[in-house]
């Protein structure tokens, strides 16, 4: 029987109490314990970015994070990136620019992109490419993803003025 531990944290703006196995990853907690399947398992070793979430304002690979370490933190997943003007602009840009094909990498990329834009409102294509270097995509060749993120940053600039 694996040791279990109770944690309390904020998930997508809502306070949660969860009991997790101590060795469990944050990714497994989100998908299998809480049932939020938007965050994806891509590799389990922090190389592909499909499991990207935001913890206390910074993105990280949830497959590398221990679930118990979520205790007391603010966690945002792809499901939490809705209903906010910036997130909507980003999603509209992904759709309009053809940045989605099979879509499996898309949640991780959306989360990483929203973090990138939150901290660097003015980005060019080169900065975006570096910013998403930890997110693998096999379908699109990245070009339209980069265009979508750059375009979303301009929308935000426009909205901010």
């Amino acid at each position: 029987m694996s040791l279990k531990h109770d944690i309390a944290f904020t998930l997508n703006g809502v306070q949660r109490k969860v009991t997790v196995e101590v060795g469990m990853s944050a990714l497994a907690m989100l998908r299998d314990v809480i049932g939020l399947t938007g965050t994806k398992y891509g590799c389990g070793e922090g190389e592909c970015g499909a499991c990207t979430i935001i913890v206390d304002g910074a993105t990280l690979n949830s497959c590398l994070m221990f679930a118990v370490d979520c205790d007391g933190r603010r966690v945002t997943t792809i499901e939490g990136l809705t209903g906010d003007a910036r997130a909507d602009a980003l999603r509209d840009a992904f759709v309009a620019h053809g940045a989605v094909q099979c879509g499996f990498c898309t949640p991780g990329l959306m989360v990483q992109a929203s973090h990138l834009l939150a901290h660097h409102p003015e980005v060019d294509a080169a900065a975006v490419k570096r910013g998403i270097e930890g997110n693998l995509c096999r379908c699109t060749g990245y070009k339209k993803i980069v265009e979508a993120i750059v375009s979303a940053s301009h929308v935000e600039q426009g909205a901010a003025r």
Binding site: C102, G103, F104, A126, K129, R130, E133, T140, Y142
Partner: protein, 803 residues
């Protein structure tokens, strides 16, 4: 709609060529789409497979007793529990659960269904297997030696002699006398004559490596038998109807009682075209457990157990005349078939098309020998042998041009076919934009001038050398008639609100087929794209389609959808003509209305007409069907025939920077001109091309599945390098619209094309930059460095085929 609101006239408009966002993109970008990994059935069990600890060994004993006793384990299966297992795969040479011996690292020995993945994994660790090692054959060249260890030996009789079972018994039971899995021999013309007419003859060996699909979503399957014994499978197969029939055979079931539902897929690229052991094993577990069973790979397992691209060792001999006309090509290839046979062994079907018909070749001979080894087996992978063949052909195009002192672009233009030509293999190029592809890509990239400048700059100081290289490709663009039918069925209905339901046999694997099909239907019916719901993922509902392969979906499913839409349109216009007392030919559908064709004057909106049809004395709904079979031929026994209804071309020009101090090759720019017949969804087709270019970049520069003595050394993203965002080149895409007569709105297939000639062009670019030609992929920094600094031996394989 009130009479006062109706527009005075509706102008013609078109969806063709527009940028149309993918219909499922908003769901996917919200994280709401449920892939197979996200689907959980009530009461489901989790399955894991025990794979071989040895590469080649006899299985002496499997002890599952401790695993069976573990709390939470419901079923443990080995071959001993399945005495009537049937062989699967292209050559029927493997059983899902291995019986007497293991032949590769991925071989499946036992399977467990348990309450959780953790319990299933723990159970695997409790299974004890005793092996008796056998010598490992890890090199195809060793496998063809006369004294080679046999991978599939014939069974022994009681007296120890080999039993030669009668023909027709599958290889899994009958074995083989040697390690030769398959052979392909093709010829048109007479290469001896061709060689005698040549002023220049060159011969080189090329070596193409193992790479793998790396779909971002790992493989998975869910199997569930209902109370009556009907089977429901959630599967990401690209060929659901073929799967249905084959699973029925493996399970000794009536195919009518098997239903396959396809959840959204996390990438395909050809990886899901065969039946793999894990799928059959999952069904066996579900049958034994009488519970739904879900089996999902880990990423490491995905690397270990998935089919690869077909590795190829080939020697090409080519010739031309001094005036620049090609004379002959003679090719021998050795395919490492791996331990079992999947679609990789049939890549010669495609490879010979390139050798025989990419540029005009009067004489051609092609031989492939596929041999069993203890390596992983190869499957179908975007391009299907064409990357390998084009790599060799386009290297020789540059070398021949240089040998006769001709500009490499002029040399290619001289030999590039034009519309109306029929090749030696019988392929009829009705629409053909080859010449335009070459001219456009070369002009936009300033190929000729840059090429000369790079040669001149080779001797200048500084470690960074620039180079530019060109290559073209030919691929089927209108399906490929390899099955009895290459067709696709459509059922279409229009409801009382002018909403269309398009039920198509064609699967969506992320390439955007559902959006293109909707676009074609809306173009016929004069409706906005939001009017369509596509149903394409349930074999109980959708009509037959052979599957997603050979870049066929837009062409064949597209024509099928148009056929159904045209029938609906005819029915609607006939009813409207009657109602408005005019000729059918005077009317058309536009902007959601029936309008007078000449003036655009709207007569009635479509929804209203639908309701008036429905709620009348002779009630009628609009429901139509259409099955489209392309006018292609089956190849004859000599592989000759017009196997596709259309063919597609592309020319790609690749620019590189080579750092001669490290060997690092940076791909800076790719300029491509693509003969696609006609652009349908501009956004979708660009996305396919950009993705294919980057996949080609990975094949050329970064991806390398390292197999040593049958073991995979790098089954992880850490050490198997996919291209990341900062590495991509500038990508310039042009379209040549050759307007194919048979294609839907003139379009041809393009899914595989953009990956095909990137490595070939890169080889030419590196040669332009450094003066050194490399004949083996991938162009990793170390390989390039060794080639530049004289520490690499040029490989030569003496052309060989079995007697």
């Amino acid at each position: 709609m009130k009479v006062a609101d109706r527009p005075a006239a509706i102008a013609p408009d078109t969806l063709i060529g527009k940028r149309i966002p993918k219909m499922d993109a908003p769901e996917k970008a919200s994280g709401k789409t449920r892939y197979i990994h996200d689907i959980n059935l009530p009461g489901q069990l989790h399955a894991k497979i025990l794979r071989s600890a040895r590469v080649h060994a006899r299985i002496v004993r499997i002890d599952t007793s401790a695993a069976r006793r573990l709390p939470g384990v419901h079923v443990v299966l080995t071959a001993a529990d399945l005495p009537d297992q049937r062989p699967i795969g292209v050559a029927k040479d493997h059983l899902p659960l291995k019986r007497d011996r293991v032949r590769s690292q991925r071989d499946e020995i036992a399977a467990v269904a348990a309450d959780s993945e953790e319990i299933a994994e723990q159970a695997l660790r409790l299974i004890k297997v005793d092996y008796e090692d056998l010598p490992v054959v890890s090199n195809a060249l060793d496998a063809i030696k006369p004294d080679a260890v046999l991978i599939h030996p014939e069974p022994h009789g009681a007296d120890g002699s080999h039993l030669h079972l009668k023909p027709g018994v599958p290889i899994a039971f009958a074995g083989k006398k040697d390690n030769i899995a398959m052979r392909f021999d093709y010829a048109h013309g007479d290469v001896v004559q061709g060689e005698s007419q040549s002023d220049v003859v060159i011969e080189d060996t090329f070596k193409l490596h193992y790479v793998t699909h790396c779909c971002m979503g790992v493989s998975g399957v869910i199997a569930d038998f209902d109370a009556s014994g009907n089977l429901l499978m959630y599967s990401n197969t690209q060929v659901p109807f073929l799967h249905k029939r084959e699973f029925a055979e493996y399970l000794n079931m009536d195919p009518a009682r098997i239903r396959i539902v396809q959840p959204p897929i996390g990438g395909g690229f050809g990886s899901k075209l065969d039946i793999y052991p894990f799928e059959v094993i999952c069904v066996f577990l579900a049958r034994a457990a009488r519970r739904p069973v879900k089996l999902v790979f880990s990423r490491e397992e995905e690397f270990l157990a998935s089919p690869t691209r077909q590795p190829v060792l080939l020697t090409l001999r080519s010739g031309c005349r001094r005036d620049g006309t090609l004379t002959f090509r003679q090719v021998h290839t050795l395919h490492d078939n791996g331990a079992y046979t999947s679609w990789g062994a049939t890549t010669p079907f495609v490879m010979m098309q390139t050798f025989s018909s990419l540029y005009r070749v009067p004489h051609c001979e092609y031989h492939t020998t596929a041999v069993y080894t203890n390596n992983p087996y190869a499957g179908s992978f975007r391009g299907y042998g064409n990357l390998q063949a084009t790599f060799a052909v386009e290297a020789h195009m540059d070398k021949l041009a240089e040998a006769i002192g001709m500009d490499p672009l002029e040399f290619r233009l001289k030999n590039a076919q034009v519309p109306g030509e029929v090749t030696g293999q019988g392929m009829s190029f009705k629409s053909c934009g080859f010449q335009d592809c070459l001219k456009t890509a070369a002009a936009r990239s300033d190929y000729q001038r840059k090429r000369r400048e790079c040669v001149a700059a080779r001797d200048k100081s500084g470690p960074i050398k620039r180079g530019i290289g060109i290559a073209s490709m030919l691929h089927v663009g209108g399906g490929a008639k390899i099955y009895p039918s290459d067709g696709c069925g459509t059922i279409l209905k229009i409801d009382d609100f002018a909403h269309v339901t398009l039920i198509t046999g064609a699967s969506e694997i992320g390439q955007g087929s559902e959006t293109v099909l909707s676009q074609l239907v809306c173009e016929e019916l004069g409706l906005p794209i939001s009017s369509v719901t596509v149903v394409n993922n349930d074999t109980d509902i959708t009509p037959w389609d052979v599957g997603v392969h050979a870049s066929r979906t837009t062409f064949i499913a597209g024509n099928s959808a148009i056929g159904a839409a045209k029938k609906a349109k005819a029915k609607i216009l006939a009813a409207a003509a009657k109602k408005f007392e005019c000729a059918e030919g005077d009317l058309t559908l536009r902007g959601g209305h029936i309008v007078r064709a000449a003036s655009g004057e709207p007569l009635i909106d479509l929804a209203r007409l639908m309701r008036s049809l429905h709620f009348s004395d002779k009630a009628e709904l609009v429901m139509t069907t259409f099955y489209y079979e392309p006018p292609s031929q089956h190849q004859d026994k000599g592989f000759k025939g017009d196997v596709s209804a259309a063919y597609a071309w592309a020319t790609q020009v690749v620019e590189v920077e080579v750092d001669t101090d490290t060997g690092i090759v940076k791909m800076t720019r790719v300029t491509g001109a693509h003969d696609v017949g006609r652009v349908l969804n501009r956004l979708g087709i660009e996305g396919q091309i950009e993705g294919g270019v980057v996949m080609g970049q990975g094949y050329a520069l970064t991806e390398n599945l390292m197999i040593e003595e049958g073991r995979m050394r790098n089954p992880s993203f850490r050490d198997y390098k996919l291209v990341t965002a900062p590495e991509i080149p500038e990508i310039d895409v042009s379209f040549i619209e050759s307007m194919d007569g048979e294609g839907p709105q003139g379009a041809k297939g393009v899914g595989e094309a953009p990956a095909i000639c990137i490595a070939a062009a890169t080889a030419n670019a590196i040669e332009n930059a450094t003066g050194v030609r490399i004949y083996e992929l991938p162009f990793t920094p170390e390989k390039v460095y060794r080639a530049l600094h004289g520490s690499a031996e040029k490989l030569y394989w003496k052309p060989w085929k079995p007697e």
